[in-house]
């Protein structure tokens, strides 16, 4: 079979469990978690690829892949189903030499798919994670990588010093070349946090993946093993500064915040943007929404297929939701297919897909005086019975 040679292909790590999203990822892989009314998290890196001219994407799945695989399908929503483009789902598989099985780490996941990458003889491989919300032109990063003749380029963003110890920190020389990588350092030397976006020269990465697999003590992880090994071998690694919006939505709090940051007249993350950075999603044939005279909506996004009879303030109402008469939704993320029955009150909450809040039930409430947010969460398909209460910070 003929495969067109590609200058750049992308490998998207989408196998993580996302256990910190708790009930939201019990039955759903993190990249398939709904976001922003009509999207799923994976739409962001996938659309970024397409908008950056990358038409070949390998998607590494492992945890709860059913919904995610179904969602990606043949890649048609992102235009990745053409003759020389693809969105290829790559689950773990069994091989004759036992060098296979579950993906042991991020590097091992790519290692197990060397054959897939080799088909396209790429010069560069972009490695991405499926759990970040941002818009980025990877083509500009690849060009930067090429201009600096680096073996690897890592996207970095400036984080506040007090938060730096939560990230992988890259210490750089004045020319932005990297001399040290520290995973979650106790005493960070810089505030250049890795965004988990890498560009590699494929021939070099390939060599290092094979060597890493031979090392029984390796965690087979990009941050812990591959990057330090490349540095140790004297390769040139560059940091690529990115100052746009970027959010790791790995926790309930950050997922809620990232949704809230879409709102407002001048939102922190302007999802509307221009055509060239458009985020595409699989479409579900919902009709237009109906907004009843009894309703009141302000400072909110409402996607298609909704019927709104109640009050919605500063919230995201996703595809196919109903908000009944007299119901109030405030500061909340309502995922697709949710029904909020008349008289129910929802505040500071994330309501999982297809969950139902029955008549006069109450979800969440005001945040306490302490800094800690208390988001109430319902799992996919959960039902909160009539006249019952889900306290702030509780999960159903």
């Amino acid at each position: 079979m003929y495969f067109q040679k590609k200058r750049v292909i992308a490998m998207l790590l989408a196998g993580g469990q996302g256990s910190r999203l708790k009930v939201l990822t019990e039955k759903t892989a993190k990249p398939a978690v709904p976001f922003g009314g009509k999207y799923r998290i994976i739409d962001f890196p996938l659309s970024n690829c397409v908008n950056s001219g990358i038409d070949t994407v390998g998607i590494l799945t492992q945890y709860q892949p059913l919904e995610l695989n179904e969602y990606i399908g043949n890649g048609q929503p992102w235009g990745l189903n053409k003759t020389h483009s693809c969105a290829q789902v790559l689950p773990p598989y069994e091989r004759h030499d036992k060098k296979s099985g579950w993906y042991k780490g991020t590097a091992n996941a790519i290692y197990q798919n060397i054959d897939f990458i080799d088909r396209f003889q790429p010069d560069y491989v972009v490695v991405l994670s499926g759990d970040h919300i941002y818009k980025m032109d990877y083509a500009a990063m690849v060009n930067y990588h090429e201009q600096h003749c680096a073996a690897c380029t890592i996207a970095v963003r400036d984080v506040p010093l007090k938060e730096a110890s939560r990230f992988g920190i890259l210490n750089t020389n004045p020319d932005n070349s990297i001399y040290e990588f520290e995973e979650k350092p106790k005493k960070p030397k810089s505030t250049n946090a890795s965004m988990g976006i890498y560009v590699f020269n494929w021939d070099i990465l390939r060599q290092f993946l094979i060597a890493d697999e031979e090392d029984p003590n390796s965690a087979n992880d990009f941050g812990k093993n591959i990057i330090p090994n490349l540095l140790g071998a004297g390769h040139k690694l560059m940091a690529y500064n990115f100052s746009g919006y970027w959010k790791d939505v790995g926790t309930i709090d950050s997922l809620w915040e990232a949704n809230m940051e879409l709102l407002g007249e001048n939102p922190e993350f302007n999802i509307r943007g221009d055509e060239r950075s458009k985020i595409c999603a699989r479409n579900n044939a919902h009709p237009s929404s109906y907004i009843d005279p009894a309703s009141s909506i302000s400072g909110s996004f409402v996607a298609e297929g909704c019927e709104i009879y109640g009050t919605v303030r500063h919230s995201i109402i996703s595809l196919g939701c109903t908000v009944g008469e007299g119901a109030v939704v405030e500061d909340s993320v309502v995922m697709p297919g949710v029904t909020i029955e008349p008289g129910a009150i929802v505040r500071h909450a994330i309501l999982g897909e297809d969950s139902r809040i029955c008549r006069n039930a109450v979800v969440g409430g005001a945040f306490g005086p302490e800094d800690k947010k208390q988001i109430s969460v319902t799992a996919k398909g959960a039902v909160l019975a009539e006249n019952t209460v889900l306290l702030p910070g509780e999960m159903l």
Partner: protein, 370 residues
């Protein structure tokens, strides 16, 4: 059962709204084109072999429907074909449905010989279960099945084709281009017939310079007792968008939840071309009441009892009431609009006032600045 579909894009009868588009490509309901309903009815019944007959201004239609992939018609075999006047014959534009089928005979002859043909129009919108219509046709053993709707004939509206049944459900009268009284059933311009029979009739009719489906084939043969007809009465919502007044009324009637649920979900989803707009944003001081709203809108003013298509902007202080506002139109600060249909890409300058009537809405043409 092998089934093929023929969709008629229809002549334009909606004045300025269809000056440059077919009835098939007229936007409807916030996110659709009228042809989406016919295509989705066929797709919902598993029909994978569809021709669209169109005679002029079909550019916007082709741009919208494309290869038909949204309706599962992007196929190697069968799939979707456009049957335009110059596609296969040297005839001028078509005078009637039979003539258009005659010039698309090559298309009709592709596929299995024992196929049934569903003929369906794009100006009458419904969510009809064609599987049930097809089953009724086969069970009846008759030459043709006509899908009809009660309650449309009112003695005023001129119907293309109307039938009156007797107590036993048999046809008592058939009328064409007739202001039928209310005891007539209106044809929804959906017909089922066998391909073999259709080909034979088309050849016979064209040979005798007859080209009108309703007048020549249905009425003419019935009067000669040369056709057996099965009348299928559809119980759901059927929107006859055959005049500006009807289009306007039917658009605003989407605020009725019964109508909405029947039209968009009674049998199958209605598919349309994907546009990937963001969800609509409702500003801090907006007031949106009784509206049908698609994706991508930026709503900062007031809208009452209106249909807002994709990417419509209502600026602060603007007020629209009983309006149909198509894609990408911007209503400026402080503008006041009542009973207005705004086509795509219109810009309404700040402070503009436009007031039409319910029976005679003002139409602002595509791309105009007012």
């Amino acid at each position: 059962m092998n089934v093929m579909g023929i969709i008629f894009a229809n002549d334009a009868t909606l004045g300025a709204l269809t000056a440059n588009r077919t009835m098939a490509s007229l936007p409807f309901g916030g996110r659709y084109r009228q042809v989406d309903f016919a295509l989705s009815n066929l797709a919902g019944a598993g029909v994978r072999h569809v021709g669209i007959v169109t005679r002029h201004h079909y550019q916007s239609l082709i741009r919208h429907v494309g290869s038909g992939e949204e309706w599962g018609l992007e196929l190697e075999e069968g799939g979707l074909e456009y049957l335009t006047p110059y596609a296969s014959s040297s005839t001028d534009t078509y005078r009637g449905k039979l003539e258009s089928i005659y010039s698309a005979m090559e298309f009709l002859k592709t596929g299995p010989e024992d196929e049934l043909v569903v003929m369906i129009d794009s100006a009458i919108l419904s969510n009809v279960d064609l599987q049930s219509v097809l089953a009724s046709h086969v069970e009846s053993g008759r030459d043709i099945t006509i899908v009809t709707k009660a309650g449309i004939a009112d003695g005023v509206k001129q119907l293309d084709l109307a039938v009156k049944l007797d107590d036993k459900g048999e046809i008592q009268d058939i009328a064409v281009d007739y202001q039928a009284p209310s005891d007539y059933l209106a044809s929804m311009d959906i017909f089922v017939l066998s391909k073999k029979w259709l080909i034979r009739q088309v050849n016979e009719h064209i040979a005798h310079n007859l080209y009108h489906m309703d007048r020549d084939l249905v009425l003419g043969l019935w009067q000669k007792k040369a056709i057996t007809i099965n009348v299928y009465t559809f119980g759901g919502v059927a929107m006859f968008n055959e005049s500006v007044g009807e289009y306007f009324h039917n658009s605003l009637s989407l605020a009725d939840s019964y109508i909405r649920r029947d039209l968009f979900g009674s049998n199958h989803p209605v598919y349309t071309k994907v546009r990937d707009r963001v969800p609509s944003y409702y500003g801090a001081n907006c007031s949106i009441d009784g509206c049908t709203v698609a994706d991508g809108c930026m709503l900062e003013g007031q809208a009452y009892n209106s249909v807002l298509f994709r990417q419509v902007t209502i600026r602060p202080g603007a007020k629209v009431e009983n309006c149909v506002i198509m894609n990408d139109t911007v209503v400026g600060e402080g503008a006041m609009l009542k009973n207005v249909i705004l086509d795509k890409d219109v810009v309404v300058s700040p402070g503009t006032q436009l007031i039409g009537t319910v029976t005679n809405p003002i139409i602002i043409k595509r791309g105009e600045r007012v």
